[in-house]
């Protein structure tokens, strides 16, 4: 039985080959990826402001990734572009500022790669997080009420507060006030815009 070492070396080489293709090569090719700058010095993807960066942690903590992906598949691999979830596919450089990267595997909810393009109004996001069904009546998204405080309006309404007409959890004369986490999360969601062109991902004018 002198062929046992040969067998193990063979197994090792097979795994080494896979590791080389799946780990080493991508690392060598993409490990040093940097944001791309245009002539005016703007960085793409743009850096997030600190509040939105904090919101990314709220996004992680509440497991948004379990139901929402952040990746636009190319035209040959799905209908993401046809659904207007993006103007182009996403490429590795889109994620260089993200720690961790929320690619996601499930699409129980819609893809959020470009939610900041579709929905730029913070009020929409706050109402939707407080009670998703108030904005989309067939939504199956759970409510994130614990990110909000419901309080009685005393004198002047709270500058960030909003009313929820007809919501049973908000009694008459009360308003919903977002906590710091809610504001950070909404800032993060609105910052999700991947509509800039990169040299490896051109944005062609959309033809409806």
């Amino acid at each position: 039985m002198n062929s046992l070492p040969r067998l193990f070396i063979g197994i090792f080489v097979v795994f080494l080959f896979a590791w080389g293709g799946l780990v080493a090569m991508p690392y060598l090719q993409l490990g040093g990826l940097q944001p791309q700058a245009d002539e005016e010095g703007n960085q793409f993807p743009p850096a997030r402001d600190p509040l939105a960066e904090e919101g990314a942690q709220v996004y992680a903590a509440n497991g948004c990734m379990y139901c929402h992906s952040q990746q636009i598949r190319p035209e040959y691999a799905g209908s993401d572009l046809g659904r207007e979830w993006g103007v182009r596919r996403t490429v590795p450089r889109d994620y260089v500022n993200d720690r961790p990267v929320f690619l996601g595997t499930m699409r129980t909810g819609p893809d959020l790669t470009n939610v900041g393009l579709r929905l730029q109004d913070p009020l929409w996001h706050h109402r939707h997080l407080y009670n998703p069904q108030s904005m989309v009546n067939w939504s199956i998204m759970p409510a994130f009420r614990f990110l909000y405080k419901v309080q009685r309006v005393k004198g002047k309404p709270h500058p960030d507060g909003f009313a929820m007409v007809g919501d049973p959890t908000v009694p008459e004369g009360h308003e919903v006030v977002p906590t710091k986490e809610a504001k950070a999360l909404v800032a993060y969601l609105i910052s999700l815009k991947r509509d800039y062109a990169l040299k490896e991902a051109p944005v062609t004018p959309t033809e409806p």
């Binding site: 040959y76 590795p92 904005m135 509509d195």
Partner: protein, 256 residues
């Protein structure tokens, strides 16, 4: 051991007596034809060589065609071998795009972009987002409406006697056809019966307010007369949508 008196050959006590002694000799022919397995290099059978050869060949051709040249920055798997980046369709695979009417373009764009706030039924959300169905901003003159689409509107706004306070974003990044489509759609959906808008009219409106970078406020838009329509597109609205809707007819009616 002494010989058996009856002439039987000498036997060992633990052996199976039914087995002949010369078993090796009896099986010699079989063992010669089918040897015991052993280590060593054996020739592969021809079918194996050709089968795995074919697998490698087909796999290699596939990789060569659809690997994007093994480049990390290839936009499409078809890059480098079949089509320039950004082209979309694979070679020999013509993507058939059905021509949508203006209203269909608008409906599609509305459902994926506007319905979140204004709702699929155009009724808006009480206390937050104004309705479009039956709204005076939508069903009267189209000049105001086009400007709202082009630059958004922020701050308090009275719609059908109810004040809404929010921000509507600008949709300036959309092309003329799409904006015209959405306006045409919302002016004709949910019982609204206003006339369509042509892409050329949007192009003209866009040029008029090109320098604007901020959202409109209600007061600024109220300065535009409520019933004012945009001037008809030159060439009497060549792209009037074939909706079959009677309201589509007065498309090129002169501005009121």
């Amino acid at each position: 051991m002494s010989a058996d008196p009856h002439g039987h050959p000498p036997q060992k006590p633990d052996l199976d007596y039914s087995e002949p002694h010369d078993i090796g000799r009896l099986h010699a022919a079989v063992m010669r034809e089918k040897g015991e397995p052993r280590d060593g290099n054996e020739p592969l059978s021809l079918w194996m060589v050709s089968f795995f050869g074919a697998v490698l060949l087909i796999g290699g051709i596939y990789l060569g065609l659809y690997s994007g040249g093994f480049q990390p920055d290839s936009y499409s798997i078809y890059d480098g071998s079949m089509k320039a980046p950004g082209g979309g369709a694979a070679a020999g695979q013509e993507i058939v795009k059905t021509e949508l009417t203006l209203v269909q373009i608008g409906e599609k764009a509305y459902k994926s972009n506007c319905a979140a706030c204004h709702q699929p039924n155009g009724m808006g959300v009480a206390g937050a987002f104004p309705p479009l169905a039956g709204s005076e901003w939508v069903t009267k003159g189209d000049r105001r409406l086009a400007q709202i689409l082009l630059h958004g509107i922020a701050g308090p706004m009275v719609v059908n006697g109810i004040t809404y306070n929010g921000v509507m974003q600008s949709w300036n990044a959309w092309d003329d056809k799409r904006i015209a489509g959405v306006i045409t759609y919302i002016r004709q959906a949910w019982g609204n019966t206003a006339g369509p808008v042509a892409p050329e009219q949007i192009a003209a409106a866009r040029a008029e307010t090109k320098s604007r970078t901020t959202n409109w406020t209600e007061a600024e838009l109220r300065a535009i007369p409520e019933d004012e329509n945009m001037p008809p597109a030159p060439g009497a609205a060549p792209e009037a949508p074939p909706t079959g809707d009677p309201v589509a007819a007065p498309a090129a009616a002169p501005a009121a």
